[in-house]
Each structure stands twice: as structure tokens, then as C-alpha cells.
Symmetry: C2
């Protein structure tokens, strides 16, 4: 009798194994073979779920986004009932800082993929900007709740700037250019500009 | 009679060959062999000038900084006599945008090194923050010329933010997340905040 396999679970396990390889050994280390070794299986199941390296990368890209999304959602949920707009934005933005392995690994993997995309346009994942766009919408919504108006063109740029630079600022902590306090103050400075902390709204 | 070799020139040629390999084929492609192939020589001279891959990387890192420095210096020089502070800062910042191959290649190489540093602390180059620090000092000096005072703590963060995010914003153009107009407006928005364009000083 054949084993019952939950395909989604198996696929996710292999993708997570790939992410561990990237975070530990860098983008160079990715191969069907290294993912199989990391997952403790033969190359057969890896090849079964992912026809080639490009599919493996696309899945890993999507999985990083999914895991960061889950981290952010959990952090906001922990704020409880009806959090103030500034608390929501602060919590979301701070969730990207490498203060835990999940965020640390996501930031490393994101940067490895981003650098690879610069030299290899073929691995660019369609819709990779969905995640920054969703983050910009979330911040914009909180802004509108806070001020009860739409952001101006200048404020819209400030939101875009915060979203664009978030993972870079998180990564500079891992690379040792900033300590966590510097990085936090660079992010909070941008949040304070959009949503002043002493405003009761 | 042995050939007269200008060691500095030879070393720079090999480092530039390495940068071409990174920009074209990504960080994975770096090896003593691929650099030799790119430079059109045997592995012997590469090994002579660079004992191992780590030395090759450190030299490439320094060379990217040197080439970007030259690009920026030339752009500022072309402003002529006594340029206004805002013109200097605008010129320096815009020089990083991938509107020419030199800047494009520097931004790609910088991001490949940065991503590799995240997973391999051993390749971090001592003093790699010299270049962002010099850029922050340059902007600070122009700020002081413009306003005839020192920046406040908030303004100092804005300068730090501009420096930290400059190469990310440049890279998002190469990766296709922003077009050049978006990227320019994100940068100009930050410059305008520090040095308003209509101020005559």
C-alpha cells in the first residue's frame, strides 16, 4: 500500500531545507543535491516537486514572503483588541529587525535572492513586488486611520521610502554596519515623521 | 631580459576582470580560474597577486569603492567653480543611479558582496564602512555650508538614512522594482528635505 503523503507539507519541507542552505552557505550553495542532503532525502523527491533550479528558487522566494507575513501577522495579533495606528506600523516594521532567527533568516535569504536577481534577470520572480506593495498599503491604511485623510505626495514618498529601505536597514545589522539601536532609531525616525508618537489618535 | 611589469596596473587589471565576472555571472562564478579566463591569462598570475579567494574579494571590494569614488569626484568636478551645496549633494547622490555602465556595475557588485557578507562573515572587509562614512561626512559638510550651522539629531538621521539607502534605491532600478524616475524622486525627496532647492544659499 503506498504511503499517504501530504504533498503541500512535503513541498514546504523541501523549500524550508533550501532556505536553511541559503542562510547557512549562501546563494552559491543552492542545488538539487544540497537541498536533498539538507532535507535528508535523495534527489528524487526534490526533482519530483521542482523541475529545475528556477522552480526551486521561485518557491523559496514565495516561502520567505509567506514566513515573514506570518511573523508580522502574529506580532500585530499580539497587540490585542484595537491597537493604535502607530503601534501597528511600529510592530510591523520592527518585526523585520534581526532580533530572532526567523526574521534574521528571512532578511538574509531576501538579500541573497535580491543580489542574484541583479545579475540573473531570468530568476526574477513575477509578482515579487507584491510584498512591498502590500506593506505600503498597510502603512497607508494606518496613516489614514491616524490622520483621517489621505497622505500627500510627500507623505506617500515617505511611506515608499520606509518600505524600500526596511530590509536594507535590517540587513546592515547582520552585516555589522549598524547595531540594533541605530537601526531601530533610523526606522523609528521615519515612523515618527508619518505618525507622531504623542498623538492620541 | 625579463619583461618590465607595472605591478599595480597588472593587479588592477585582474581585479577589474573579477568585477566583470561578478557583474555578468554573479557571486557564485568567482574563482581563481574564472578570473584568469576573463583576464585572458593562466591561473599563475592570479595566484601570484592574490594568495586566495578572500584576498581577491577584498581587492575587488576596494576597487569598487575606488571606481565609484572616481565617478563621483569626476561628476562634482564637472560642476565647475563654486557649486552650491545642493548641487554637490544632488550630483553625488545621482551618480549612484544606474544610468551608465560604471555605476550599474558598481551597484551590482556592491550588492553581490553585501549579500555574501551576510552569510559569510569571514569575507567581511575591515573598513568596509569607510565609504558610507565618507559619503555621510561629505553631505554633512555641504549641509553646514548651506545652513551655516550643524545638523540637529533628526537631520543627522536623515543624512544617515540617505547614505544607507542610496545603493538599495539604485539597485531597485536594476531589479525592475522602480523605474529611474521613481528612484530619482525618492532620492530627491530626501535631498530636498535637507537642502531645499529654492534656497539661494
Amino acid at each position: 500500500m503506498p504511503k499517504v503523503v501530504d504533498h503541500e507539507t512535503r513541498r514546504r519541507e523541501l523549500t524550508d531545507a533550501l532556505l536553511r542552505v541559503v542562510v547557512r552557505d549562501g546563494y552559491d550553495a543552492i542545488s538539487i543535491r544540497s537541498v536533498a542532503d539538507e532535507a535528508g532525502c535523495s534527489v528524487r523527491p526534490v526533482q519530483y516537486y521542482f523541475a529545475d533550479k528556477a522552480q526551486l528558487l521561485a518557491a523559496a522566494h514565495a516561502r520567505v514572503t509567506e514566513r515573514m507575513g506570518a511573523l508580522v501577522t502574529r506580532a500585530v495579533h499580539e497587540l490585542g483588541g484595537s491597537p493604535r495606528p502607530r503601534a501597528v506600523v511600529g510592530t510591523v516594521v520592527h518585526a523585520f529587525l534581526p532580533t530572532n532567527d526567523e526574521a534574521r533568516h528571512a532578511v538574509i535569504a531576501y538579500h541573497c535572492f535580491f543580489a542574484a536577481e541583479l545579475t540573473q534577470p531570468s530568476i526574477r520572480v513575477p509578482g515579487a513586488d507584491a510584498s512591498p506593495n502590500a506593506l505600503a498599503r498597510l502603512i497607508r491604511t494606518q496613516f489614514e486611520r491616524h490622520w483621517n485623510r489621505k497622505p500627500t505626495a510627500a507623505e506617500t514618498r515617505d511611506i515608499q521610502l520606509l518600505v524600500t529601505t526596511l530590509s536594507t536597514i535590517a540587513a546592515t545589522v547582520i552585516a555589522g554596519y549598524h547595531d540594533i539601536e541605530d537601526a531601530t532609531s533610523l526606522l523609528d525616525h521615519q515612523i515618527d515623521r508619518l505618525l507622531p508618537p504623542n498623538n492620541k489618535r
